[in-house]
């Protein structure tokens, strides 16, 4: 467990409020994908611009091959006029196998980055879905501000001087000296010009503030949500989660949306066979639960509550829309009763629900899982913000032999990363941070998918039919990811073995890249 650090925690909680509001995947906007692009294994990182329109930086790592050509192209989910020509990703100097490119992302919402490789082994493509939204406010660099102000002052004085010269001399015949009347008129004109320019500058300042305010209103905020605990008689307590956002509630009311310039949300689709992946993490990170509430209606979701000790819990709910847009809803819930009876293994709402309150290891150490096997996060190199973290975990049986891991909701493993202040939360898979359902939504979208829900039906049917076909994997699992900022993080790694869901927890300090460079 992390030792109590009230001062640091208090300061970071303040930051957390800001960052949660400002974050898409909750503080971790980069999209990561690891998998196959045809015959090539690739790891793709998309650094999103944080403004719309903006320029995204794309990195493609091809560890085992040297393709002749790597290209990237962006497109919006509902584009009808084809795709623009792809941009060539060029090799990054000093890092063999890494290719980089910049792409303009013009519109907010669900976009895809298609990575294509061509080489001796043929050609292949991979789709990386990204959620392009405004994420942050950029303050004016003081040096730039001073420089612009100095030039602005010069231009102000220059314009006043020019107007003065114009009134004083410009209409005089060549060679004639200005009269005192000309000079007086010039002074008056200069005074008037100064006042007008001052008014214009004031208006410009007000305009700038207004533009900044308008931009701030576009900064991403997850749909409003709330979580409640409901206990009726002797029934097990239920966690009731609601998407309480009016825009979601009125998503089919075109006149309501038109009046408020609202988003016409597409329906939810299943990701790993679930409409919602909900995580409960106590503020001190001492307890973690991964639940899959079922829909009561399109707004309310409900799940049996695990046997949680009291405390305030952060609630993160991952959902995916038919457009490929994914987001993490954020709220909190306070558990007061001690102890809640909670659910037993036989009372889970969903067989894939799990929770954990066990020991926490450090990077490089091992932790014993509930079935006696051991999970190890190998490696001793310090983790640096913004650089690939090397999240690779090995699972051994009690006798030291590698464990055979079964697919857990179609994946070899699930990792949940949270910064201690809650300002970063991300649900990662071996395939990256991107939603598999989003990826499939782009891959399976057809030109005729103009009716909301049609694509979702096909996707959900396909999800169910393919969930069980993933083969068991050898006893290790890795996750492509870079921590977005320095701080103390906890990682919960979940795997499935012999039909049991096993969770290991690790704490890791993440250093700033700047300090590392020093």
């Amino acid at each position: 467990m992390i030792p109590s650090q009230p001062k640091v925690l208090g300061r970071n909680l303040g930051l957390a409020v800001l960052c949660i509001v400002l974050s898409a995947h909750v503080g971790s906007p980069d999209a990561w994908y690891e998998g196959n692009a045809g015959p090539y294994k690739v790891t793709v990182q998309v650094q999103l611009p944080g403004v719309v329109p903006g320029i995204a930086q794309i990195f493609v790592r091809v560890p085992n091959d040297r393709p002749e050509r790597v290209t990237v192209v962006a497109n919006k989910f509902d584009a009808t006029g084809g795709t623009p020509p792809p941009e060539t990703a060029t090799p990054v100097e000093g890092d063999p196998g890494l290719y980089g490119a910049k792409l303009w992302l013009m519109t907010a919402g669900s976009n895809s980055i298609t990575v294509a490789l061509t080489g001796s082994r043929g050609s292949g493509k991979a789709i990386v879905p990204v959620v392009n939204v405004a994420l942050r406010r950029l303050e004016l660099d003081p040096k730039l501000g001073i420089g612009l102000s100095a030039i602005g002052l010069f231009l102000f004085v220059g314009m006043v001087t020019i107007i003065g010269a114009a009134v004083r001399e410009s209409t005089l015949p060549p060679g004639e000296l200005p009269s005192s009347g000309n000079r007086t008129r010039a002074r008056l004109a200069m005074t008037g010009t100064g006042l007008v320019l001052a008014l214009l500058l004031f208006g410009g300042w007000r305009w700038w503030n207004s533009e900044a305010s308008a931009f701030n209103r576009t900064i991403f905020k997850p749909l409003a949500s709330k979580a409640d605990l409901v206990a009726r008689n002797d029934e097990p307590p239920q966690l009731v989660f609601s998407i309480a956002d009016e825009e979601w509630i009125h998503r089919s009311d075109s006149s309501w949306l038109a009046r408020r310039d609202g988003t016409s949300w597409t329906p939810l689709i299943e990701d790993h066979g679930k409409l919602m992946h909900l995580f409960l993490i106590r503020d001190d990170m001492g307890l973690f639960a991964h639940l899959h509430p079922a829909t009561v209606d399109s707004v309310v979701f409900s799940s049996a509550l695990p046997p949680l000790p009291p405390g305030r819990y952060r609630v993160f709910a991952d959902i995916v829309f038919e457009s490929g847009y994914s987001q993490t809803l954020v709220t909190s819930v306070v558990v007061r009763q001690l102890p809640l009876t909670g659910m037993s293994n036989t009372q889970r709402s969903d067989p894939d629900d799990s929770w954990f309150a066990g020991p926490v290891a450090a990077k490089g150490d091992s932790t014993r899982l509930s079935d006696g096997s051991v999970m190890t996060w190998s490696g001793s190199a310090p983790i640096v913000a913004g650089r690939e973290a090397g999240l690779r975990f090995e699972v051994h049986n009690a006798d030291g032999t590698p464990s055979t891991l079964e697919p857990y909701m179609g994946m070899a493993g699930h990792a949940v990363v949270e910064r201690e202040d809650g300002s970063v939360f991300v649900h990662v898979h071996p395939s990256g941070t991107v939603s598999m359902a989003s990826q499939m939504a782009f891959a399976m979208r057809q030109p005729g998918d103009s009716v909301k829900g049609l694509l979702g039906q096909r996707l959900n049917a396909m999800e169910r039919s393919t969930m069980s076909v993933h083969a068991p994997v050898a006893g290790s699992v890795s996750f492509p990811y870079a921590f977005p900022k320095p701080g103390k993080y906890r990682i919960w790694v979940q795997v499935k073995k012999n039909g049991r869901i096993l969770t290991g927890a690790f704490d890791v300090p993440v250093n700033s890249g700047v300090k590392s460079a020093d």
Binding site: P53, L138, L155, E211
Partner: protein, 403 residues
């Protein structure tokens, strides 16, 4: 400085050729800044087309380079004029200049061009930061673009003032006419520049049945057309200026639309294959004729009455010229290279709106309301009268500029 200037007073007797050569002493910079001013408009027309067709650009895209050439040519040539006039100018050149901070000397237009060049350069880092902070060109009219536009319009006005000063000093009819044409060209460039800023609302044929089109054009153009008409020494100044504006835009329109091009950004909803050209220019030649006739008839002594006549005439002639022109532009007959109608951005979701009128004056039941239209036209006339009055005052001042 007063002493030095007094020694530069014109001699009492001069030959005609001496006088002529004196007025033309600094003529090449006039051509340089008018060229720069033209580059501003041409670059902007191409830049708008670039964004509507290709989307993606860089600091070094061809339209941007044209704009940069404009700033460099204007800045260097006017900088040379300042240094030359101040430190090595002939007595005539100094006598035709105004002083800046009591030391530097150059014609008024050169100072305006230098101010404009610095403003344009200043806008670049501001705009770059703006893109990083709020997104890439989220809106065309933004604070940094306004700074840039101030520089551009400053450069164009500076070019006009340099031509105007030479025109007003000219003693020879041939020179006066030639310099008058140069001034009219510079003025036409300004009209074209102003038209770009309201093109979203007031350039498409679809907008020409709504009073908003007439309110916007009345708000912007009478000031310039009337001012330039009064400042010019040509016989048909506003008409000439309007024709030059239309000619410059038309030539660009025909050239631009002939270039094959492909969108480089997503989402593409309209897969264009050639550069999307500017709209067919507004038919300012007709209000131009009205302005010239009225200014000639009223003379110089009745500016308030004249401005009322000009304002009413401008709006009524605009309606007469554009009402049916709007019908034509949205008809199949205009969908060809000559009129370049029905050309839309790569990210336009095409629909029936292409052939419908926009911004119609509708009542609560969504029907076209002649009363609301007439009310809008009345407001447009008020704008045009005020604009004409300001234009007459401004033009009167410009007609006197000799340095």
């Amino acid at each position: 400085m007063a002493t030095s200037v007094s020694t530069l007073a014109a001699p009492v007797t001069e030959t005609e050729e001496n006088v002529r050569s004196r007025t033309l002493a600094v003529e090449w910079p006039i051509y340089a800044v008018v060229f720069a001013s033209t580059c501003i408009l041409v670059g902007l027309l191409w830049d708008v087309s670039w964004h509507r067709t290709i989307g993606r650009d860089t600091f070094w895209s061809p339209p941007h380079i044209v704009e940069q050439v404009a700033a460099i040519v204007a800045g260097l040539s006017c900088g040379w004029v300042v240094l030359h006039t101040t430190f090595a100018g002939s007595p005539e050149e100094r006598a035709q200049s105004v002083r800046f901070w009591r030391f530097f000397q150059a014609p008024l237009g050169a100072w305006v061009c230098i101010w404009a060049t610095i403003t344009m350069i200043m806008s670049a880092p501001f705009d770059d930061w703006w893109h990083n902070a709020y997104g890439l060109d989220v809106r065309i009219i933004s604070p940094p673009h306004t700074v840039l536009a101030s520089g551009m319009i400053g450069l164009q006005l500076g070019a006009g003032l340099m031509a105007l000063g030479a025109q007003n000093r000219a003693t020879d009819d041939r020179d006066r006419k030639r310099l008058g044409i140069i001034f009219a060209w510079a003025a036409g460039i300004i009209i074209g520049f102003a038209a770009i800023f309201i093109q979203e609302e007031a350039s498409y044929g679809n907008a020409m049945h709504g009073s908003k089109f007439y309110r916007l054009t009345a708000m912007v153009f009478p000031i310039f057309l009337v001012a330039f008409a009064r400042a010019s020494r040509l016989k048909w100044p506003a008409t000439t200026i309007a024709l030059l504006y239309m000619g410059i835009v038309l030539v660009n329109m025909w050239i631009i639309e002939s270039f094959p091009a492909q969108p480089r950004l997503a989402p593409i909803y309209n897969p264009v294959t050639h550069m999307v050209p500017p709209q067919f220019p507004l038919l300012f030649v007709f209000p131009g004729i009205a302005i010239d006739l009225l200014i000639r008839r009223f003379g110089n002594g009745r500016d308030w009455t004249l401005s009322i006549a000009l304002g009413i005439a401008f709006v009524l002639v605009m309606i007469a010229a554009h009402w049916f022109w709007g019908d034509f532009l949205i008809s199949p007959a205009a969908r060809n290279w000559f009129f370049a109608a029905d050309k839309w951005d790569y990210n336009s979701r095409l629909g029936p709106w292409r052939y419908q009128f926009w911004n119609l004056d509708r009542d609560a039941s969504k029907n076209f309301s002649p009363m609301l239209f007439l009310r809008g036209i009345a407001i447009a006339i008020v704008y045009a009268v005020i604009g004409s009055r300001i234009g007459l005052w401004w033009g009167k001042g410009m007609a006197l500029v000799k340095r």
